[in-house]
């Protein structure tokens, strides 16, 4: 298991290197010139000064030389300067990573058990009224757009009732933990609602299939109660296919987080990458997109480890 993890991590490093080169070239192809962008509207701009600027930033060099320079500095901890935020890239990304991670982790921590509970309840009697109610909920979750639920919740809980803040982050930088949590309630609720619907449907389908399998019949034949059958025998087996669904659903969760962060005015990864790309902030976009790659790689590694943990038939080699 340890050997497997280490070799997977080494592979990941390789993938990240290749990705960084690809992203480096792709971002370089984006329309728009960074120097023009920077000096836009400057009356003293001559073709001469622009050429000087280009030389200064190394933009006149071939791409592999530029990549080599970038990689060298990156490996020495210097990821460059953001041209939109006028601060070092890491300083911009650090708080955004924390912000987004908080939102995603809180959402997963609530969504997974909730989906298991609702899915299992629905699967107990397919077609019964609990199932219908839960299916309706899942259907609403899948079809209502995230921005719509966000606005409704803001109108009800912030504007009308005044119970919860409409922004996702406190104004003061040094807000207390409880204050931060209160600000997170609405964004996490919206994202959970957005995320949990498909999960519920998968758990339900997987549970129904598992509850019809031979070994569940064996468990019932032992005289176990229905709840023992579900919790001890069916749930873990039903969860095995869920691992893939969770790993694949991570991308959609991330894009959901972008919407939520925008509406609740949170400076998260989604917002940063969006700003960086639309303003051709080369350094920031590159590192932001690389981070997204790393997260994807890690989540697929995590999924494989979770498989091995849930299913003893799987041996990682």
């Amino acid at each position: 298991m340890l050997r497997y993890t280490v070799s997977r991590l080494l592979q990941a490093v390789l993938v990240i290197l290749v990705m960084s080169l690809l992203l480096f070239m792709l971002i370089g192809l984006m329309p728009g010139d960074p120097v023009e962008n920077m000096l836009e509207g400057n009356p003293s701009l001559t073709p001469d000064t622009m050429a000087q600027m280009r030389a200064l930033y190394g933009l006149d060099q071939p791409v592999y030389v530029r990549y080599g320079h970038w990689l060298y500095s990156a490996l020495h901890g210097d990821l460059g300067y953001s041209s939109v935020y006028f601060r070092p890239v890491l300083e911009v990304l650090g708080p955004a990573i924390v912000q987004t991670a908080k939102l995603l982790v809180a959402t997963e921590i609530i969504s997974i058990p909730l989906a298991m509970l609702l899915g299992a309840l629905a699967a107990r009697r397919p077609g019964g009224w609990t199932d219908s109610l839960i299916s309706l909920f899942a259907f609403a979750s899948i079809s209502l757009p995230g921005f719509w639920t966000s606005l409704i919740l803001i109108i009800v809980f912030s504007v009308k009732l005044g119970w919860l803040p409409a922004s996702g982050t406190p104004l003061m930088g040094d807000a207390s933990l409880s204050e931060q949590i209160v600000h997170m309630i609405l964004p996490v609720t919206v994202l959970t609602f957005f995320h949990v619907g498909p999960l519920v449907r998968y758990v339900r389908a997987s549970m129904i299939e598992t509850l019809n399998s031979d070994f569940v019949r064996t468990a019932r034949a032992k005289g176990l109660s229905e709840s023992a059958v579900i919790i001890r025998h069916a749930l873990r087996n039903a969860l095995i296919p869920m691992v893939t669904v969770l790993a694949l659903g991570f991308g959609s969760l991330f894009s959901g987080a972008l919407v939520v962060e925008t509406i609740f005015g949170m400076l998260g990864m989604g917002k940063i990458i969006y700003d960086a790309v639309s303003n051709i902030d080369f350094n920031l976009a590159l590192v932001g997109l690389l981070l997204a790659t790393i997260v994807t790689l890690l989540s697929s590694l995590l999924a494989d480890l979770a498989y091995a943990w849930l299913d003893p038939r799987i041996v990682l080699k």
């Binding site: 070994f215 019949r217 468990a219 005289g223 025998h233 003893p312």
Partner: protein, 337 residues
């Protein structure tokens, strides 16, 4: 029928024909499923009983309802199936049992060895825990006691290094080992009735013999009754005191083992006995009953399309299941009166 006589010699005889009341007495057992064209009776009007310490063999080809009959005895018919009739077990009628009563009964009084050793165990739970579970439920053992007892049970069914095997997951055991573990699980609480659904079909011949031996030894030790299911009449003849032959959901012949082999009356039973390989001949004579089960027919004898003796009367009216000799029941127009 010289071969049949050899089988008679090996057949077990009904020990106590005058025993007070049987352990299990099934009357008019019917299992109905909703179908596209109205309700379908998968099992129809079964009547049989099993005395204490004895074995009933149920024989019939694939799909005739053997497993369904067994599931009815455990209240495990699923998928919208409905059970009618009475199942008198040790004095109470199981058909009217509540979910709670079923849970008390299953695994403790009636246990089942399932047909598919490959899929009948939970793939993500160690074997020892799966056995221990039934002890925790019915004998109120602690988890540690149950694990210890599970190891003893695995040893008693002849599994080498049982302590290590108890920690293993089902996929780490061979087919034979898994079937032994299933037997250990079924016997954990010393049930009064063991249902063995094709317990040896998935195994190779030498292991088959070992498993049968094991079951019979344990039966003698515990005075347990067995409902033994197989589509293989030869295997059943080695273990059963009486045999019920089923065809398309119905019993067509039901008799003490030796009677059935000495004097098979139903054309289907005669066909089954004729298909048995003859050990005397070098070349195995494999006779196969021509045709296959026709489903959905509700008028006349269900075997008529394959029966060499069928006539118009057979196709029009369904034969009654009648006792033609003491303990020997047949459903065929051409037998009896």
């Amino acid at each position: 029928m010289q071969h049949a006589e050899q089988l008679v010699a090996g057949a077990r005889t009904v020990a106590s024909a005058t025993s007070p009341s049987p352990l299990l007495d099934v009357r008019d057992l019917t299992v109905t499923f909703p179908g596209a064209a109205g309700p379908v009776q998968i099992v129809r009007g079964l009547n049989y009983s099993i005395a204490r310490g004895e074995t009933l063999g149920i024989v019939g080809e694939s799909g005739c309802g053997k497993t369904m009959t067994s599931l009815a005895l455990l209240g495990l018919v699923s998928g919208g199936g409905k059970v009618d009739g009475t199942i008198d077990f040790n004095g109470s009628n199981l058909v009217s049992f509540s979910q709670r009563q079923w849970q008390q009964l299953r695994g403790r009084d009636i246990a089942m060895i399932f047909q598919e050793p490959m899929t009948a165990m939970n793939p993500v739970m160690p074997v020892g825990r799966q056995i221990g579970e039934v002890l925790i439920k019915h004998q109120k053992l602690s988890r540690r006691q149950a694990e210890k007892r599970a190891v003893e049970l695995l040893a008693s069914v002849g599994i080498p290094s049982p302590a290590r095997r108890a920690q293993d997951y089902p996929h780490q055991l061979s087919g034979g080992m898994r079937q032994r573990a299933m037997i250990a699980m079924a016997l954990a609480c010393r049930p009064r009735l063991l249902i063995a659904d094709e317990p040896t079909t998935a195994l190779d011949v030498t292991i088959q013999a070992q498993i049968l031996d094991l079951m019979l030894t344990l039966q003698d030790e515990a005075k347990m009754s067995i409902q033994f299911i197989s589509h293989n009449l030869a295997v059943v003849s080695e273990v059963a005191h009486s045999i019920m032959v089923m065809y398309a959901g119905k019993a067509v012949e039901y008799a003490p083992s030796d009677d059935l082999f000495a004097n098979p009356l139903h054309p289907y039973t005669q066909g089954l006995i004729a298909t048995l390989p003859d050990p005397d001949k070098q070349v195995k004579r494999l006779y196969v009953i021509p045709g296959r089960v026709t489903s959905g027919i509700t008028v006349g004898c269900r075997f008529a399309s394959r029966c060499p003796r069928a006539d118009e009367g057979c196709r029009r009216t369904e034969p009654e299941f009648v006792e033609v000799a003491p303990g020997h029941h047949v459903a065929c127009h051409k037998v009896g009166s």
